[in-house]
């Protein structure tokens, strides 16, 4: 049985569904970022109280506000600088996994589709949250330098670990996580069952 045309049909359907998925995702930008930003606002200031003052929603992204500002080229307390240094995070750069996942999911016929989709969304949301934390760590490390690595607060990852986590969460996880989720949730679908080798290999 030649299954390649069905793969091409699948790819074509995904491409078609990407259009409305991305349009909806763009339109819902602040609503998608909002809960993630709110969660980060609970975690980051509690984790690094000496550095992070708050995490705010800024259009459809996050703005990590610190307790520092810059005066004459040096980092000083925000009240001395007269402003708070903030680091923006493009949440969309992490959350595009959601429309990609939606396109993959709805291109495959399967049982309990909406229930699976809801669980998938929840999983991706968690990954977006972790991604925002990792990007923020990188921004704080680069932007605050020694203040970041020398803070006496709780555990702060090593610079190399922060760099790898940043790259992993921006380059690999957003495009790969939807695919892995889709494969897992659709493993009993007619399309993946058709790949009989999957059964023999599992």
């Amino acid at each position: 049985v030649n299954t390649q045309p069905s793969h091409l049909r699948f790819a074509g359907t995904v491409l078609l569904l990407l259009v409305p998925s991305f349009v909806l995702w763009m339109a819902l930008g602040p609503w998608i970022a909002g809960p993630v930003v709110a969660l980060c606002n609970l975690v980051l200031p509690a984790w690094m109280p000496e550095l992070v003052a708050a995490v705010q929603l800024s259009e459809s992204g996050a703005l990590v506000l610190t307790h520092y500002g810059e005066l004459d080229g040096k980092l000083v307390a925000a009240h001395r600088a007269g402003y708070q240094l903030g680091f923006p995070v493009d949440v969309r750069q992490l959350s595009y996994s959601i429309p990609f996942y939606a396109a993959l999911h709805f291109s495959t016929r399967q049982e309990s589709s909406f229930e699976k989709f809801s669980w998938g969304l929840l999983a991706l949301y968690l990954l977006v949250f972790i991604g925002v934390i990792c990007v923020s760590l990188k921004n704080l490390m680069v932007g605050l330098g020694g203040l970041f690595s020398n803070q006496a607060a709780l555990l702060v990852p090593d610079g190399n670990v922060v760099a790898i986590l940043f790259q992993l969460n921006t380059l690999i996880i957003p495009p790969l996580a939807p695919v892995l989720l889709w494969v897992w949730q659709s493993r009993d679908s007619a399309m993946l069952r058709h790949l009989s080798v999957l059964k023999s290999g599992s």
Partner: protein, 167 residues
């Protein structure tokens, strides 16, 4: 499935970490990215004589607009994902090698399309450039990886039975 997921994730993380090491970047990634810029300029030049390249930068001599091909834009990460998936799935080694070669070729061909499209989109509208660059193309490249892997699995399931999968 557990075996597949374990090998896949372990290979993925190992190769990805390896890719980030400075010597690997210097010896392999940066020259390879330069080759992509050169290949893109070679493909564009018959239709547009203003294109020029220098290292990993593609530039328009008339407008001065330039794109720099950075990590995540050279298709290496997508190739690593495909490599890890092929490695994790039990199959004779020659099939795995064929899948990786074919897959990397399709990824890089699509990636050249990405670079060239971004080069022109950037000269037209920077907002559209950013949107397509940051959100759309990564999804399309990963879709390519998925389809290649599914075609590979189809090929394995339809191949003449001559060797067991656990080779």
């Amino acid at each position: 499935l557990f075996r597949f997921v374990s090998i896949f994730l372990l290979s993925l993380l190992s190769l990805f970490t390896l890719e980030l090491l400075e010597p690997v970047q210097r010896i392999f990634i940066v020259p390879f990215t330069g080759l992509l810029a050169e290949a893109s300029a070679t493909l564009i030049s018959p239709f547009d004589d203003a294109v020029m390249f220098s290292g990993k930068i593609l530039r328009d001599a008339r407008t001065g607009f330039a794109v720099s091909i950075e990590s995540g834009c050279n298709g290496v990460e997508a190739s690593i994902v495909l490599f890890a998936a092929v490695l994790a799935f039990p199959a004779p080694w020659r099939y795995r090698l064929g899948a990786v070669l074919f897959g990397v070729l399709t990824i890089q061909l699509l990636n050249l399309g990405r670079i060239i499209s971004l080069y022109y989109l950037g000269q037209w509208n920077l907002d559209v450039f950013s949107w397509v660059h940051l959100y759309l193309w990564p999804a399309l490249i990963m879709l390519d990886v998925l389809v290649v892997f599914m075609v590979y699995l189809s090929y394995l399931s339809n191949r003449p039975v001559e060797e067991p999968l656990d080779a």
